[in-house]
Chain length 283, copies 2
C-alpha cells in the first residue's frame, strides 16, 4: 500500500511492503496551499507515478475544507476503529483519513489533522507533545485519543519574529542555549506573556540580549508558557529532532521528564488503517 | 511655549499661551520613522513655521536612539523634578524630554517614552492604564512614577490579525460587543494564552464565531489576559476614546472599576516642564 502525509506546505509519500516497512519515500513542496481546487487527483497521480500499490491512505490537511475533500472530524475519544470508520474514499482505493476534534473544559472546540496518525502509530499510552506551528498535546489511554489541546506557539514565534518590533533586534545565528533557558525561566515569573514579550525588546535595548540570543530567548519564553499551561509531570515528544530537542530542554528546566520518540510513527498508523480497510473489503 | 508629542508614526504640535492653554494645534504623519537621520531640525522648523514661542518641549520617541537625540531614560521613581533635570537641549530653546525606565521584580527592564508626560500631566495618584501598541500600566504616588509595566497587546493583536492564520477568518466589520466579552471571559479559563489563541481559529472553523466577531473575540481575549496579569482593583484609563472604551468594558467584565481620563494631559505636563526650564534659566 501507499501511505501519504499531505499537509499544508508539504507532500510526503511512502511505498510500504506487506509488513508495513518503507520501501521507497518521496516528498515534494506540494502542500495543499500549493494545489488549486480540483487539482488534487492529478498532483497525486504525478507524485506516486510508477507505484501501483493500493490502497492509498492519506492523512493531514488533505482532508480539510481546503483539501481534496472535507473528511469531518471524529470526536474524542478516538482510536483506530473510530478513525477507520470515518475514512472517506475519494477515488478507486484512495482514502482520506479524518481529523479528530474535542472540546476543552470550557466547551471551546479543538481540532487536529495528521497528528492523530502519528500519535496512534506510536502505539503507547500517555501524554504526547507534538511541537510545531500549532503544537498538540495529546492524551492517549487504551490506544484511544481521550483529549488533546493545541497551542499556537510556533506560529506566534514566526509572526513575532517576522512582523513585530521584536524581530528588528534579532539576527540569524546559531541558537543560544543560555538565552533559551532564561526565556523558559522567565515564563514562570509574574506579569503574563504579553508583558514578558515586551521584555524581549527591553532586554535587547538595554544590551542584555544580543540579536542571536533574542530569538532563542523568545523561543524559550513561548515554549515555557506552552508547557507550563499544560502542567505535565512527564510527556513524550514526537516531532522533528531540532524542535523536539528544544521541548526536551525546556521541560528539563521545568523539572519535567520527557522521552523522545521517532516521528515516523504516522506511516505505521496509516499502514494499520490500510490493513483495516482490506479486512473490511474481505469481510 | 510650544509642546510637541513626537512619536513613532505621528507628530503633534501645540502652541500654548502663558497659562498653558492650547491656542493652536497642528499634526502631521511625520513620526520619527518617516524622518531620516539628521532630518529632525528641518522637519521641526517646517511643522512649527510661524510659531515664534520658546521653549519648544518635545516628548516621545524623538528622544530615542532612532530619534533626534538619545535622551537616556530616567529610572523610577520619577516625577517632574527628575525628568526636568534630565532634559536635553538640542537647539536654541529646543528641548527633548527623556523617557522613564524601571525593572520588574525579576529584574527585567521596562521602558516608556511619551507616556510619562501624559501620566504626570493628569496630576493624580493611582494606577493608570495607557492602552496601545505597547500598553503601559503606571503606578503614581506623590506625583511620581513609582513603577510601570508594559504589555505588547496592541502589536500582538495587529500581527496576528494581519499575518497569522487567525486573520484569514476575519473580516472588517463593526466590533461585536458579545464576542469581545466572550474573549475577555475566555482569558480566565485554563490553558493559557497560546492555547486560547488557537481557539479563535477553531471557534471560527466550527461556525461559533463569524468573521467580524472573530476579531472582537481576539481583542477581548488579549485585553483580558493583559488586565488579569496586572490584577488591578481599579484603574484610570488614558487613551484614545475607542480603545479606552474597550479597556473599560473588559475591566467591567472582570469586576474592576475604571475611570476614563482625557488624553490631553501630555500637553499640560510639557507646559509645566517648560515653566520649570524658564525658572532654571532665571535662577
Amino acid at each position: 500500500m501507499i501511505a501519504i502525509d499531505w499537509g499544508t506546505t508539504s507532500f510526503r509519500a511512502y511505498r510500504l511492503d506487506a509488513t508495513g516497512a518503507i520501501v521507497e519515500a518521496r516528498s515534494a513542496p506540494k502542500g495543499i496551499l500549493a494545489v488549486s481546487a480540483g487539482g488534487f487527483p492529478s498532483v497525486l497521480q504525478q507524485e506516486v507515478k510508477g507505484w501501483a500499490e493500493r490502497p492509498i491512505v492519506m492523512s493531514g490537511m488533505v482532508g480539510s475544507r481546503q483539501g481534496w475533500v472535507e473528511a469531518p472530524y471524529v470526536p474524542c475519544p478516538a482510536g483506530f476503529e473510530e478513525i477507520a470508520a470515518a475514512m472517506r474514499e475519494v477515488g478507486e482505493g484512495i482514502w482520506v483519513v479524518p481529523g479528530v476534534s474535542c472540546r476543552d473544559d470550557a466547551g471551546v472546540p479543538d481540532v487536529m489533522r495528521g497528528e492523530e496518525t502519528q500519535v496512534l502509530g506510536a502505539d503507547r499510552d500517555g501524554l504526547f507533545c507534538l511541537p510545531g506551528t500549532h503544537s498538540k498535546w495529546v492524551e492517549v489511554r487504551g490506544g484511544r485519543i481521550m483529549h488533546f489541546s493545541s497551542a499556537m506557539t510556533g506560529e506566534v514565534y514566526a509572526v513575532l519574529k517576522s512582523h513585530s518590533i521584536l524581530g528588528r533586534l534579532m539576527d540569524e545565528g546559531k541558537s543560544d542555549a543560555r538565552a533559551f533557558r532564561q526565556g523558559v525561566e522567565r515564563s514562570g515569573e509574574a506579569g503574563g506573556l504579553l508583558h514578558h514579550l515586551f521584555g524581549v525588546r527591553t532586554k535587547g535595548l538595554m544590551g542584555e540580549l544580543d540579536g542571536a540570543a533574542s530569538s532563542s530567548y523568545l523561543s524559550g519564553l513561548l515554549i515555557g508558557h506552552e508547557i507550563r499551561a499544560v502542567r505535565p509531570r512527564s510527556f513524550m515528544v514526537l516531532g522533528e529532532p531540532r524542535l523536539a530537542e528544544f521541548y526536551s530542554e525546556a521541560a528539563a528546566a521545568l523539572g519535567c521528564e520527557t522521552k523522545r520518540l521517532e516521528a515516523t510513527s504516522g506511516t505505521r498508523a496509516l499502514f494499520r488503517l490500510g490493513v483495516m480497510l482490506r479486512g473490511k473489503e474481505e469481510a
